[in-house]
Amino acid sequence: MLRLDTVGQHYGDHQVLHDLTLTVPDGQLLCVVGPSGCGKSTLLRTVAGLLPAYDGTITLDGTPVRGVPDNLAVVFQDYARSLYPWLTVRENVALPLRRRGLPRAERRAEADRILARVGLTDTARRHPWQLSGGMQQRVAIARALVCRPSLLLMDEPFGSLDAQTREDLEDLLLEVHRTDGATIVFVTHDIDESVYLGDRVVVLSPGPGSKVVLDLPVELPGTRDQITTRGLAEFVALRSEVGRAVRNR
């Protein structure tokens, strides 16, 4: 369980987060929505232990977060900058396993297994810059999953992809979440996406010092499906509610 208690974060004297309290139960897929610049990325970086300090307390399964927690993986929006161009796709995906001290053959086998899962078996020996944007983001997702993280943080991961690719990756993420059951914090500024993906949607107010203005459980019947789910009356109602909160009306 991830708990944030009266968390604050600032850059110099620019206060970005203030008194933010939030609990994410194990296995939940939480979507965080909010206008650009409200501090969504800052929130993720704080939880990931990538920023030097924070106010308040953050605990992961009861232990305070100091530095980067174990069993954490992060996927950023900018796949082109977070994948390493000098490594092949397979080497990129296998990289996190080096910390586990696994022998080379096992790292390779693990990477291939996870690449097959995201549908990229044929690209293992190519380089990231030889792939399309959607495929690159699949590689980044595979790399995040390879260590079987218990907490997965995603910062607008599909924000720069075209609509079709984006829907495919949304469904891939839902499938991964169903089978792996990791806790996922998914940041987006896309209201539709947040309702389609989330077990729960949290809306942040515009900064500085943004707060939670809406905390909404998403209960949608059946397995989610791009066409049917988006047409449901429940979906439309939830989307409007989130939309109103984002626009502050």
């Binding site: 990538l50 954490l72 992060v74 900018d78 977070s82 390493y84 000098w86």
Partner: protein, 259 residues
Amino acid sequence: MKDRQERLLLGAFGALLAFGACEAVSRAGVVRRSYLPPASEVLARAVELAGDAVFLDGIAVTLRAWALGLALACAIAVPVGLVLGSVPVVDAAVRAIVEFLRPLPSVALIPLVSLLLGSGTETKVALVTYASIWPILFNTVYGLGETDPLAKDTLRAFGFGRLSVLLRVELPGTAPFIAAGIRISAAVALILAVATEILSGFGEGLGIFIAQAGLATDGTRDVLAGVVWAGVLGLVINGVLVWGERRLFPWTPGRRGVG
């Protein structure tokens, strides 16, 4: 592609024009033939030298000093650059020394170093090393500064520490910059190797050949043929290094490097 062809064509045209001008000036008797022999004669002599065992030995001696000096410069500049680029405190402390040493023209140090080390290989290697250090050092520091923070954060988020980030992200990311620095240094190193030989005046090497030809009566043709050899060596070295950079770092668009 078309751009490159056009540039090659223009380059060839320029070379031809210069060649023709030298040829004409000399043949027309505008200057004495012993001062400026026709370009065709110089070229013929340069080709002839390719079959001269003594001359080729000299080239080998010059290239050995060049390679040794350049290798030493890499061995010094890359680690120092990595430390300067990643430890701000050290950087601040060393910067003053670096800024003092850098503008000193290496060629001006030739007499001093010759006095200290004699006029043998040591002098040549020392000067080549000294001159080659700077481009490699500055490119290493600059390249480190250019490392994408997101690339570093990605590795940190997987639980890797400071040293891993340096070795797995910053070093490979900086490699294209280091390579560009080495390419710039390779040219500087060749200048220093030949210049040191010319100024010290005896022993073996391309510079010695040029210096001794300069003392002989009617030696201008040999001097110029030696210069042609120096130019061709420089071109070949640069070409090989550019090709190597393209092979090693196919993801970097265009060439990089700060002089």
